[in-house]
């Protein structure tokens, strides 16, 4: 299989996830902000920090209000991680890998792209936002469903698997970090269990609330949520699950040795969630380190499979 094609499939999967995650994140935030009392300092701008896009945002907008944040996250084509930018990149990748993807993939991506472009204003304005974002999430799920249902589990599939799981793992660390940050920002509140609202929000952002309740059999408790999202071996968006999927794919692909080694060495460290103040500043440090390691893992993919031109020799 061509290196370039492998890379395009990898990014195809990452962009599907990115579009879906962005749509869901905005949707969940929309709900969350209704639940929080005015004096609590959680705003739309948190979504900018969560995506590490402060600088990019400030270069473009003066006011950090709802309208600008949503425009930046969903529609702005000068923001390479906006939902529309990701969708456009997804479309270009699918367009140039049509020979290995199920035939209808191109059609579905094309349709979703047209739908998003035509209705993007609904995501920015309030009245139809929920419905629009729901449609976007469904569109992505449809594409993933098609791929899962019809693709052979050969090399192209493994590259989609790498992309999907790395993007999910990366998003997960960001969601957890945002949760931890939100709580560090807010003072103890007597009327409302802010912690419960915030961590419930983290769960919903990962589509994990149902699975969490069934698996943990507990109410939303900060440590349990973190433990579930980091360590649950069965939930498809937990860190442990994503890494095991990446590991499995790398085992089946040629030249996977470096990737396996990186996962086993650098990503195997467990964080002790039982320690006192486990969800404080050290947790954020741990998550930041995790993001760095995931970035390294991407570089590892690149060197193992995509950038053979740098080596070039027989």
């Amino acid at each position: 299989m061509l290196s370039k094609l492998a890379e395009r499939l990898y990014w195809t999967a990452r962009y599907i996830e990115r579009v879906e995650n962005t749509a869901r994140l905005v949707s969940v935030y929309d709900n969350l902000l209704f639940d929080l009392p005015r004096e609590i300092d959680i705003s739309w701008y948190n979504l900018i920090s969560l995506n590490s896009a402060e600088q990019l945002f400030e270069e473009r907008y003066k006011v950090c209000d709802e309208h600008n944040v949503l425009k930046f996250l969903l529609a702005d084509d000068t923001n390479p991680s906006s939902m529309l930018s990701a969708l456009r990149a997804l479309r270009e990748n699918v367009r140039t890998s049509r020979d290995v993807l199920p035939q209808e993939t191109w059609e579905l991506v094309n349709e979703l792209h047209i739908f998003a472009k035509e209705n993007i204003q609904q995501g920015i304005n309030r009245s139809n936002r929920h419905r629009f974002l729901e449609q976007m999430v469904k569109g992505c799920q449809q594409i993933n469903g098609l791929i899962v249902g019809t693709m052979s589990r050969d090399a192209p599939w493994q590259f989609l698997c790498l992309g999907r799981n790395l993007e999910r793992a990366d998003m997960l660390t960001r969601l957890l970090d945002a949760g931890a940050a939100a709580l560090l920002q807010t003072e103890e509140d007597t009327d409302l269990n802010v912690s419960q609202v915030v961590w419930g929000n983290v769960l919903r952002s990962s589509s994990a609330d149902m699975s969490y309740r069934r698996t943990m059999r507990s109410a939303v408790l900060d440590r349990d949520v973190a433990a579930f999202l980091l360590d649950d071996p069965h939930f498809p968006r937990s860190l442990t699950y994503c890494l095991s999927q990446i590991r499995g794919a790398a085992e089946l692909l040629p030249n996977g040795g470096d990737v396996l080694e990186h996962i086993d060495k650098s990503l195997a460290r467990r964080y002790d969630l039982q320690a006192p103040d486990a969800l404080g500043i050290t947790f954020r440090d741990y998550l930041n380190q995790l993001q760095v390691e995931l970035g390294e893992l991407h570089n590892c993919f690149d060197q193992s499979w995509f950038s053979l031109n740098l080596r070039g020799n027989v």
């Binding site: 299989m1 061509l2 492998a6 049509r98 070039g312 020799n313 027989v314």
Partner: protein, 486 residues
């Protein structure tokens, strides 16, 4: 059922119509088609047209148009009324096409070898030495089976007399075959009733035949040689076709940057498992962009060292570099002589009468009749840089007169043919004759093969003779129909 199409109003205007004869009756090959069309009323016909449009969008059949605002991916323009030819007639044309390509390949091989045809005085030497597409780099090379042009797209037109004439041969990187296949796929959905009788010959074996042709060229005689389709990339107007053919053949679609030539003079592609040797490249990149070491130095589309690998016999290129020398419209004028010279046979397919401007007498004739003739530069394709005499202004004629005098070798002229027509849907329930041509595709390696029919291109504008899709042309499905002689 209400008869919708008013054939008595369908006026073929003394032209040759593919479906309807001069008396207004359907030709035998079109009989069932016309009968079926009669049974559809206006709104049903319109529904079928819309179905075709939706199908094209869904299947993502597109081509790229270059504009100042960037490249636009346009839906493939398609007319639902097929064009029919009887199978018996077609088999004669197919034989003529095979004969023609066989002779052209012998000719190309001769030019890069002994040049006997020039020494024997059949063709003047300067016609070759001044050709834009003659590649001295290819002299002395002996490709497999002596074949240089493995894939040829020959444009045929039908004149008032109902005879097919060869308008030009495309021996470099002819395109359109994917559209031929897609047109059939669309028509099967739009007019399914007509395929029940099984008298319309299938076209879909082309990708297999192309694959077999390419496999037979492999320098390594191994069970599964590595075949790739080399595309200039997504911005090329025929990218859709490159991807389509790669997919249909189950081969890799590569760009220049996916390939490299190593020190052993073999071509490799970069894969996830390391470098893999490539045996045959179906290249859809023009000669001059193939190898920056030999041709255009700053080409990023090609592969440095590719010519070296080809000359060493470690990789096959289809078509071979230099094959375009026979694409020249001046060489075209000599093809009947070329057939007689190499094959000792009379040509089965006629050329269109062609005036060579380099010949003083013929040039004078051309200059005196610019308002009647079509003038073409020797080495352009896509219908660019032409003068269509009867549709031209005095000013344009004067411009061409100057061009011809400045570089007579570069121009030929032909009588303006009254291209044949076929009924084409131009509005709700409204069929009018539109001019068309036909591009069959011919394969040659160990064996020869001709597509069943080809790509019919149609000028959608009333009276227009320009069928190129880049200039507003459309296309039709082409049916080779078993049954009665025409």
């Amino acid at each position: 059922m209400r008869m919708s199409i008013k054939w008595n109003k369908y006026d073929t205007k003394n032209l040759f119509d593919e479906l309807i004869d001069a008396k207004g009756a359907p030709r035998p090959s079109a009989f069932r088609l016309i009968e079926h069309l009669q049974s559809l009323d206006d709104s049903e016909l319109e529904a079928r047209r819309q179905l075709a449009e939706v199908t094209i969008q869904e299947m993502g059949v597109s081509f790229t148009v270059y504009t100042e605002e960037g490249n636009i991916d346009r839906a493939w323009p398609f007319d639902i009324i097929p064009r029919t030819i009887s199978a018996q007639h077609w088999s004669k044309i197919a034989a003529g096409l095979k004969q023609r390509l066989k002779a052209l390949n012998l000719f190309i091989g001769d030019l890069y070898d002994q040049q006997r045809i020039i020494k024997d005085g059949v063709i003047p030497e300067h016609i070759i030495s001044k050709s834009k597409n003659f590649r001295p780099e290819c002299i002395g090379i002996k490709p497999a089976y002596g074949v240089w042009a493995h894939i040829c797209g020959t444009d045929l037109v039908r004149d008032v007399d109902g005879e097919f004439y060869v308008l030009e041969d495309n021996l470099r990187v002819p395109s359109g075959v994917a559209y031929m296949l897609e047109n059939r796929a669309i028509t099967k959905r739009v007019l399914p009733e007509l395929f029940e009788k099984k008298d319309i010959k299938a076209v879909d074996d082309y990708p297999d035949r192309l694959f077999d042709t390419l496999v037979s060229l492999s320098p390594r005689k191994i069970k599964r040689p590595e075949i790739v389709v080399l595309t200039p990339g997504i911005f090329n107007s025929a990218y859709f076709e490159h991807a389509y053919l790669a997919q249909q053949m189950g081969t890799e679609l590569v760009e220049g940057s996916d390939l490299l030539v190593a020190e052993d003079d073999c071509v490799y592609m970069r894969t996830i498992a390391g470098l893999e040797r490539v045996d045959v490249i179906y290249r859809r990149i023009d000669d001059l962009f193939l190898d920056p070491d030999v041709f255009i130095k700053d080409s990023v589309l090609g592969v440095p060292g590719l010519m070296r690998a080809w000359r060493a016999g470690n990789v096959s290129l289809a078509n071979a570099p230099g094959a375009g020398v026979a694409d020249d419209k001046v060489v075209y004028a000599y093809v009947p002589d070329i057939i007689r010279y190499y094959l000792k046979e009379e040509p089965l397919l006629a050329n269109v009468k062609t005036y060579l401007c380099e010949d003083p007498q013929q040039r004078q004739y051309v200059l005196d009749h610019l308002d009647e003739l079509v003038v073409k530069p020797a080495n352009e394709s896509g219908g660019y840089g032409m003068l269509i005499g009867p549709h031209s202004t005095k000013k344009e004629q004067a411009q061409f007169a100057a061009l011809i005098k400045a570089d007579p070798r570069n121009y030929i002229a032909q009588p303006t043919l009254s291209l044949s027509t076929a009924p084409t849907l131009v509005g709700k329930g409204c069929l009018e004759p539109r001019h068309l041509d036909l591009r069959p595709f011919i394969l040659q390696a160990k064996k020869s093969y001709v597509t069943t029919g080809g790509l019919t291109r149609v000028a959608m504008k009333k009276g227009s003779l320009i069928v190129n899709s880049s200039q507003g042309g459309g296309s039709k499905d082409t049916w080779i129909v078993d049954g009665e002689e025409r």
